[in-house]
Point group: C2
Chain length 142, copies 2
DNA sequence: GTCCTCCGTTTACAAATGTAATCTACAATT
DNA sequence: AATTGTAGATTACATTTGTAAACGGAGGAC
């Protein structure tokens, strides 16, 4: 079960296709991606191969042809990426970034409801200030 | 004005230091990072050099020594990263991911207030459903 | 003034990534 | 059966990234 996933941007595009199709053959993936990106079929094959190596895709041989499936759920992968990103940015500014992000992405009414609930719950225990975590331990001029 | 910033994770760590210090000499950056990470001084120097090339840091020579400053605001860079990430993930699932993200990161009371306001505003025009944007144009088996 | 140190620059080199051609073996066609 | 189209595997190669040593000059220590 791929846990750390150092998955690259190109590979991510392949994953999105397979996540959506649930299972797919290489030609399905290739057809879709050759259109979307200007990749050659070969390129997509390479990416598929690397994803299999990385344990992100499983290949099940059916006759001569492989059927590819994702070894990790899309939601999980997305969550990990999002969390990793925010953990690597200044904690103090996360809130503002999130606020602007909310304005920039599409959200459904029910998404908004969920978010509001989550916020309300969090409000109880929220601190007045979040400390910046940008500088390692010791102080500047130490 | 660095606009696209293909900035790597290691480089990001250097940026965080300089963003926080506002201006810094190489030795300040090196001292902090050699502790935090197990990098050699040389490694940090390389990263600084690359960031200058990429236009993310400016180097102002004061005598023999450089003073480094960031060429792009931290908030801007953070916002770009966050937006880019979410734009590259399944639009339909962004809401859920965000909801869980909110639970995982630290937020101050005022952050929460801002988020709630942003959500309330957005609620007006929110659709009932957000469409998945994972598969390129043409349909699966076309 | 000489030597050492520190800083910036240059060079190094392996691994990962982006991008792809080629080769090989089965499958479908004729 | 011979041919041809494909799918998967192997190989290729430039660029980027991670990680660092080496070099060369300016300033400070003595």
């Amino acid at each position: 079960m791929a846990n750390d996933l150092p998955i690259t941007t190109s590979e991510w595009e392949v994953m999105r296709i397979v996540w959506t199709l649930e299972k797919a053959t290489s030609s399905e993936i290739i057809n879709l991606l050759v259109k979307k990106r200007t990749w050659k079929a070969s390129t997509v094959k390479t990416l598929i191969g690397r994803l299999v190596q990385k344990g992100m895709l499983t290949a099940t041989k059916e006759g001569h042809t492989n059927t590819y499936q994702c070894a990790i759920a899309e939601r999980t992968a997305m969550q990990e990426e999002a969390t990793r990103l925010f953990k690597n940015m200044c904690a103090m500014k996360n809130g503002e970034v999130l606020a602007e992000l909310i304005q920039e992405i599409q959200l459904s009414k029910s998404d908004i409801q969920k978010l509001q609930d989550a916020l309300t719950a969090k409000e109880q225990t929220a601190p007045d200030q979040v400390a910046c975590n940008c500088i390692p331990k010791e102080e500047t001029t130490e």
